[in-house]
């Protein structure tokens, strides 16, 4: 791993409702290139808010998010340019229902990366091939299963050739039998060296794939370490009781 972190988060705070809700209370973390960082924690601990601050879907109240040397919170930063290189996968897929699979996958590359439709479709088909969905390229999202939708959503992000991928509970909305196919795609991405930040309740995935796990509670990182340190040797009482509930 190169020395310079791809993402560097400093003193990140996010308040909602004019300060009534403190979702993040000063989060500091560096994410290295090709690192897989898994974020765990109880409901309402600020995991989603943390992830959404990384591409400024939520604008931080204080602190900074430095992505490839650019502070995204600085004024006059072109956030749209930065977001092209930060892929995001949502719990509820958020595919565009009025477009075919191919339409979903090529919208960004054609409109933003200046690719021709032919180039964009070629790339999309290659990626579809790899997740085993090449035969569904003309389907509409409503015609796909949850697992297929989420794999398409991952491919949609990959079509922008991002440097980092953010996942917010990508398997939480899936029927149990479809969780595996999505996790497999994510594992393969990790093997290929994609930098990933993954919020998940899949502790098996965290153990197997994560380079580092952070445990959040009440808007703070309470504990961080290797999967072994977090799962086999938890230090804080809060992490111990959290693990007791979920494992």
């Amino acid at each position: 791993m190169s020395a310079e972190p791809i993402l560097s988060v400093r003193g990140l705070q996010k308040h909602f409702n004019a300060g009534a809700v403190h979702a993040l209370n000063g989060v500091n973390v560096d994410i290295a290139r090709s690192e897989v960082l898994v974020v765990i924690g109880p409901s309402g601990s600020g995991k989603s808010t943390f992830l959404r601050c990384l591409n400024l879907l939520e604008r931080p109240t204080a602190g900074s998010v430095i992505f490839e040397g650019t502070d995204l919170t600085a004024p006059r930063v072109n956030i749209n340019l930065c977001r092209r290189r930060i892929g995001m996968v949502f719990q509820h897929f958020n595919l565009f229902p009025h477009m075919t699979v191919l339409g979903n996958l090529t919208l960004g590359p054609i409109r933003l990366l200046g690719k021709t439709p032919a180039e964009a479709e070629k790339k999309a088909m290659q990626l579809l091939e790899r997740v085993g969905l090449a035969d569904r390229s003309d389907a509409y999202p409503s015609q796909l299963s949850g697992g297929q939708k989420q794999r398409i959503a991952i491919v949609r992000a990959l079509c922008m050739e991002p440097d980092v991928m953010l996942f917010d509970e990508p398997t939480s909305a899936l029927d149990p039998e479809m969780v595996g196919e999505v996790l497999d795609v994510m594992k393969e991405l990790a093997r290929e060296g994609m930098t990933m930040v993954v919020v998940t309740h899949e502790m098996g995935f965290a153990r197997e794939v994560a380079d580092r796990v952070i445990f959040m509670d009440e808007g703070l990182i309470v504990e961080e370490g290797t999967p072994w340190e977090i799962f086999e040797n938890p230090q804080s009482e809060r992490l111990q009781s959290f693990l007791a509930k979920v494992l």
Partner: protein, 242 residues
């Protein structure tokens, strides 16, 4: 029976056939459809723009950093609100008279003036229709668009508006039907629309019931026909629900 039929026929011929007076009706019908159509187009154009201003302001007002962009958006939002208040707060006939005698005084093209006035008028109502359509789209769609790097405008254009438009298509069609009837007041500025055409015949023949009932019947048939189309459209949209 035979006598009254003969009388009816005589009145009919007198009102519509003699002097080719039916042309008042057919030409008037064309004018009515023309004004309705252009008004709807203008109304949709205005509605999309104003709805985008209003909802982008509502969405971004907490996030906006001070600067030229936010000042401009605030200004546009205030103008939009003023437009909505004034248009919805005054009678359309008054707007029509103001349009003809005050704003477009130099124009002799009454079809143009009427289309502008009714377009600007229905734009206010269409704004609310489209705004509702935009708000009915899941926030996740917006976030997905922004997360791949689309700008606010691009997200609206490629993702939100197409979906919202499909949702509001039946309401827009109903707006068309409402406009069809509303434009009947165009005679106030001397436009020879369907209503005015019937009224002119009445003035020439001094038999009121025949031309006026004919006009009413034509409106009724049109409205029933377009409502039937809207119903079909709604069923089609629902069955293609994806």
């Amino acid at each position: 029976m035979a006598a009254s039929f003969a009388k009816f026929k005589e009145t009919f011929v007198f009102n519509f056939i003699e002097g080719a007076r039916w042309k008042y009706i057919t030409n008037g019908l064309l004018v009515t459809l023309e004004v309705t159509f252009f008004s709807l187009l203008l109304g949709i154009a205005i509605g999309v723009v104003v709805a985008m201003i209003r909802s982008s302001y509502d969405q971004m007002k907490d996030e906006l950093r001070p600067g030229l962009g936010s000042t401009l958006l605030k200004l546009l939002n205030e103008i939009s609100r003023l437009y909505l208040t004034v248009i919805r707060g005054t009678p359309v006939v008054v707007q029509l008279l103001i349009g003809y005698f005050v704003i477009f005084v130099s124009s002799t093209n009454t079809v143009f003036v009427a289309s502008m006035v009714f377009g600007i008028n229905s734009g206010a109502y269409i704004t609310e229709i489209i705004r509702g359509g935009i708000m009915s789209i899941d926030q996740g769609q917006f976030e997905a668009g922004r997360s791949i790097g689309l700008t606010y405008i691009q997200t609206m254009r490629y993702i939100i508006i197409p979906q919202a438009f499909k949702n509001v298509l039946p309401s827009l069609a109903n707006e068309f039907i409402a406009l069809l009837k509303e434009t009947a007041v165009c005679g106030y500025i001397g436009l020879m629309d369907l209503t005015k055409g019937g009224d002119v015949i009445r003035g020439r023949t001094f038999t009121a019931y025949m031309p006026l009932l004919a006009v009413a019947l034509i409106y009724l048939i049109l409205v029933i026909f377009f409502s039937w189309l809207v119903g079909k459209l709604e069923r089609r949209l629902r069955s293609s629900e994806r």
